[in-house]
């Protein structure tokens, strides 16, 4: 490949909502691929192995660091869900005007946090 100058990277751009939501989409997506999928495999593997293996899984999952990982995974999921829906809207050619784009970028990022809180509230309180 020919050596050509690359476009300026993170350090040179002024931060804006669209930049944040784009970076979070990639971080949460790749983060889930590398962390959430192994946890899913462990959960399924434990369920398939029997109650003793499942106890081992839940023992670690309900420790303080287990909860940190699980809350992180759930936030990554809901964040990626919201910004993924934003991508579907952008794909049809809507939402590119700067004010509209900025507004929905903020709504998307907040939505991920709100849905995560709602999920755990229902799970723990219900």
């Amino acid at each position: 490949m020919a050596e050509r100058p690359l476009s300026p990277h993170l350090s040179i751009w002024k931060w804006g909502p669209a930049m944040l939501v784009s970076i979070l989409h990639r971080v949460t997506g790749d983060g889930m691929a590398l962390v959430a999928l192994p946890v899913l495999l462990w959960w399924l593997g434990a369920l398939a192995s029997g109650s003793a293996a499942y106890e081992t899984f839940t023992g670690i999952a309900t420790s303080w660091y287990g909860y940190v990982v699980l809350v992180g995974i759930s936030w990554a999921f809901f964040n990626h869900l919201c910004s993924g829906i934003r991508h579907f809207v952008l794909d049809i050619g809507a939402g590119y005007a700067v004010t509209v784009n900025n507004r929905w970028s903020v709504v998307t990022t907040m939505g991920g946090v709100v849905l995560t809180a709602a999920f755990w509230a229902v799970l723990v309180l219900a």
Binding site: M32, A48, T58, F88, F119
Partner: protein, 155 residues
């Protein structure tokens, strides 16, 4: 008239392909990312609501839910859709951050192996959960038949 291929042309890479039109294969990755993304949206939300509707997340509750079709089938579909989607996403990250054609090829090779291994293991787990539940049901049926004085007559 002789057909000119991009390989016959001289000049820069962009100059060689300019004016040829679309190869129609470019959007393949992009489209699959959307198709699997739409699948993930439906199936993952189904999983989220299923988890919230379970009485608890004990072994018995989770096992019973995953061993019947309304749990096992969406889970199998989710496994295929989500591992495919994750593979496509990780490929983009690798293409952006792993430099050098040889290293890139090697990492994507490992990615493909890991994706298929992970998805196959997950599907096997679901199959085993379903099979275990079927086995338990049959054992129960035989026990009941024996208690009713019809040894072996249940099946």
């Amino acid at each position: 008239m002789e057909t000119q291929t991009p390989f016959d042309r001289k000049g820069t890479p962009i100059g060689r392909v300019r004016g040829l039109g679309s190869a129609h294969r470019g959007p393949h990755h992009w489209l699959l990312q959307r198709f699997t993304g739409a699948g993930n949206l439906l199936l993952a939300l189904y999983l989220v609501f299923s988890v919230l509707l379970l009485p608890d997340l004990s072994y018995d509750s989770a096992f019973r839910w995953l061993s019947q079709p309304a749990g096992a089938l969406p889970m199998a579909l989710l496994i295929v859709s989500v591992f495919w989607h994750a593979r496509l996403g990780l490929q983009v990250m690798i293409e952006d951050y792993v430099h050098g054609p040889g290293r890139k090829f090697a990492v994507i090779l490992v990615l493909n192996l890991a994706t298929f291994a992970g998805a196959a293991f997950a599907l096997l787990c679901v199959a085993r959960i379903v099979a275990t539940a079927v086995g338990l049901d049959m054992t129960q049926g035989i026990m009941q038949a024996m208690q009713a004085g019809r040894p072996g007559g249940a099946l």
